[in-house]
Assembly symmetry: C2
Homo-oligomer: 277 residues x 2
Amino acid sequence: MTFRDKLREASLRNNSLLCVGLDPDPARLPEHLGTGPAAVVAFNRAIIDATRDIASAYKPNLGFYVGYGAAGIEALVETRRMIPDDIPVLLDAKVGDIALTARGYARGYFDEWDFDAVTAHPYLGEDSLEPFLSYRERCTFILVKTSNPGSGDLQDLPVREQGDEPLYRRVARRVARWQETYGSCGIVVGATYPSELAKVRAICPDLPLLVPGIGAQEGDLEATVRAGLGSDPSLVLINASRAIIYAGDGLDFADAARGAAIDLRDRINAVRAAIRA
Amino acid sequence: MTFRDKLREASLRNNSLLCVGLDPDPARLPEHLGTGPAAVVAFNRAIIDATRDIASAYKPNLGFYVGYGAAGIEALVETRRMIPDDIPVLLDAKVGDIALTARGYARGYFDEWDFDAVTAHPYLGEDSLEPFLSYRERCTFILVKTSNPGSGDLQDLPVREQGDEPLYRRVARRVARWQETYGSCGIVVGATYPSELAKVRAICPDLPLLVPGIGAQEGDLEATVRAGLGSDPSLVLINASRAIIYAGDGLDFADAARGAAIDLRDRINAVRAAIRA
């Protein structure tokens, strides 16, 4: 089954565009779980059990596991195994290296660790992405416009070539072209830039879209959903991490996470309903 | 001791600008070592023992370890521990994520795993690099112009802003400015693009420079050394991986690697001598 089909089914089954980010910050794990990689596994297990009928995808970010050393990587691999087979799992690893090395990453993240999708940097160009994109059943989400305050440093630089436009839009055009070759592209645009998102969606209407920055980063939910829905509305992932997984910090943290996940899923769906109406 | 000082000392002690890339490809390890993470550790140990008086630095690339699963990460951490304290070790992880996540990576790669330097993508801008750059004793090598064939896809796009120039040069200017703030920047420019390297060096004359692409990627050694030497000639790392570590594949692979390392170090030094003459 392709990533697109798996995501579509999960999205329809749970009536959800919500992607839950599994980003275990050592400073924010509930105290009663302790610390270290074992606490990470216990935390993730509880979050997954509490949200598996609410989320359309999960997205662990590699950076939060690296911080625990090699045992953190074991915790990441175990986390991936805990997630039900019918929910896609994106590894947010923001890969980007020359082809030979990219093949090592692809073999690791797709074959060994069995993730359904990864995130990737565009800076090295097509040949660096080909080892990922050639896994046509998986999906490679390419960073177009990121959610952070400094994303404009490079991404908004004006490119002079067949008419002026900012770099991130030129990247979106590259991705649209790569999609014609591989069929396994996705795009990442931060919720903190909804008008840029609308412009990217006009270039790539049918690509799976990952939107981080809704929860703690305070992107505008309504503007994001309006701008982000493409030709297949189930291929949108609105990601929230901290706003869900740290909704509570007591013994009932998983219930609190479930509540926050339901609330966000429903708010997204309310915008979708308003758009349809 | 700062990274710059550590690199300078190692470079002067071994009279070398050679960085040895520790990239254990499972298809190319000597047969008698077997396969898997234990073979990787044995292989790296032999390569390090055979080259520690020749190399000015080592650079394992994370992608080659990820391909072995979580046990590969253990092998990476063990590899780092095997390298003598007075030789700097760069983790080629090509990081690039929003600040909160970048802090996780920085804690992992610098504090937990104790690398002296990392490589990083510029695409997310200054705030994404700050968590690395704020480790002022370490070094963050920022990708400016990469060695791969498709590096021009984005890096050569013409940027219109205060005069036209390709994106990679605009990135070099950003790095030069960040260096004024943090003092811990380095740059990466591939040996396959020596004329671009000369232009970057004109913008960043005093930054530590990492140059991949000399061995198997067939960059021009003489042009690279001529273009790459900056205001402090010991702050240049000419990286070779496959051309050294796979120089032989029999029982004597480490001797073959030593021979290849000496040969490349001496060829680099011959160019330096010719420039001084």
